[in-house]
């Protein structure tokens, strides 16, 4: 394993559920259906539009900020309730949200800024890229391929980058 300080926290949740993972077709179908709902939401909220993203970064409409802020508030209240009442998942597992290790914080500042550049250039973050292809903006297949190349190169350079 690499000796980067940030290694473990983003190892895709190995310890989160120790019991044999039940990946029945039914359970996986739920994620597919939730994905469909999210794709509809990204489209009907128009957050997937390059025009809306431009409007946001030019501070010419509060719409995107209102959407993001209200999404965070709803999610924060829900997460607080889940923690407060120690709710379990439908699968029976206790719900635990691993904290993100701060390290030197470089990865968040630099990686975040790089993503921000890409967000404004493509007018889309990862979810909207997939929703845009569904909406018929098929050239975004190239953007997704390019994003995969970017992620792959990060994996290759990871040990050499400051985190």
């Amino acid at each position: 394993m690499s000796n980067q300080p940030a290694t473990d926290q983003d190892a895709p949740v190995q310890g989160a559920s120790r019991q044999a993972h039940r990946q029945t077709a039914g359970a996986l179908l739920v994620y597919f259906l939730l994905g469909i709902c999210f794709g509809v939401t990204l489209t009907q909220s128009e957050v997937l539009s390059w025009f809306r993203v431009q409007e946001m970064f030019r501070f010419q409409s509060p719409r995107m900020y209102e959407i993001i802020a209200s999404a965070v508030v709803v999610a924060a209240v829900a997460v607080a309730l889940i923690k407060r009442f120690r709710l379990r998942a439908l699968s029976g597992e206790p719900i635990s949200i691993p904290p993100k290790s701060l390290g030197y914080g470089v990865r968040y500042a630099v990686g975040g800024t790089m993503f921000g550049l890409g967000w404004a250039l493509t007018g889309a973050c990862p979810g909207p890229l997939f929703a845009l292809v569904g909406n018929g903006v098929t050239v975004m297949i190239v953007a997704i391929a390019s994003a995969l190349a970017g992620t792959w190169l990060y994996g290759l350079l990871r040990a050499k980058l400051p985190h």
Binding site: F38, G39, R58, L90, G123
Partner: protein, 198 residues
């Protein structure tokens, strides 16, 4: 008879609502609800960019530790979620038909000055289309922009969903730094880089 009519108009109302743009106070809370929904189904953390990592791990892991894990066990749910996003986009576009985005007049003016003339659809076709891919503006927007999205989200360990929604909702300082970075990068690209090539 009356009951049938009521149900009918109710269904018409639902379709009309679903197919018109949602106001922010519907869109935002609905997006936020995906965090508890995924947690409550099986403790999954809402985030989309990890799907890119899972695809790399599945297709071309190479020698990088970063891609050497059981992607089927940890990532299959995420890949199905993303496949759903694509299908959801298809369904919504079917309802919505030809869709124009009602952006602010000031944004329209600023973009016109930059040379954007086509304001129909979700993104300007003069930049985001197959023929435009070979132009400088198309290449930078789609290929360079896509690459930065992939590299940046992997480096930062999350995107708008993972950091700006899930992370901020869980009051993570790391996510706050990432979100400040998102906006620093976005403002830089919009105000300094876009005018150079559009």
């Amino acid at each position: 008879m009356g009951e049938v009519n009521w149900e009918c108009s109710n269904a018409v109302f639902m379709v009309a609502f679903l197919s018109s743009p949602w106001p922010w106070y519907v869109a935002g809370p609905v997006i936020g609800l995906f965090v508890p929904l995924l947690l409550l189904v099986d403790g999954k953390l809402f985030g989309v960019s990890s799907s890119l990592r899972h695809v790399c791990a599945a297709v071309l892991p190479g020698k990088a530790d970063y891609f050497r894990y059981d992607w089927k066990r940890t990532g299959l749910w995420n890949l199905l979620f993303v496949a759903g996003i694509f299908v959801g986009g298809m369904i919504a576009s079917h309802w919505g038909g030809h869709r124009d985005i009602a952006i602010a007049d000031s944004t329209r003016l600023a973009l016109t000055k930059l040379g954007i003339h086509d304001f129909s659809g979700l993104a300007p076709r003069e930049v985001f289309s197959w023929p435009a891919l070979l132009s400088l503006k198309g290449f930078i927007s789609v290929v360079v922009g896509g690459f930065l999205v992939g590299f940046g989200t992997a480096y930062a360990g999350g995107c708008t969903s993972g950091h700006a929604i899930s992370g901020l909702a869980d009051l993570q300082l790391a996510s706050l730094i990432a979100v400040v970075g998102f906006f620093a990068g976005g403002l830089l690209a919009t105000h300094l880089i876009l005018p150079l090539f559009l």
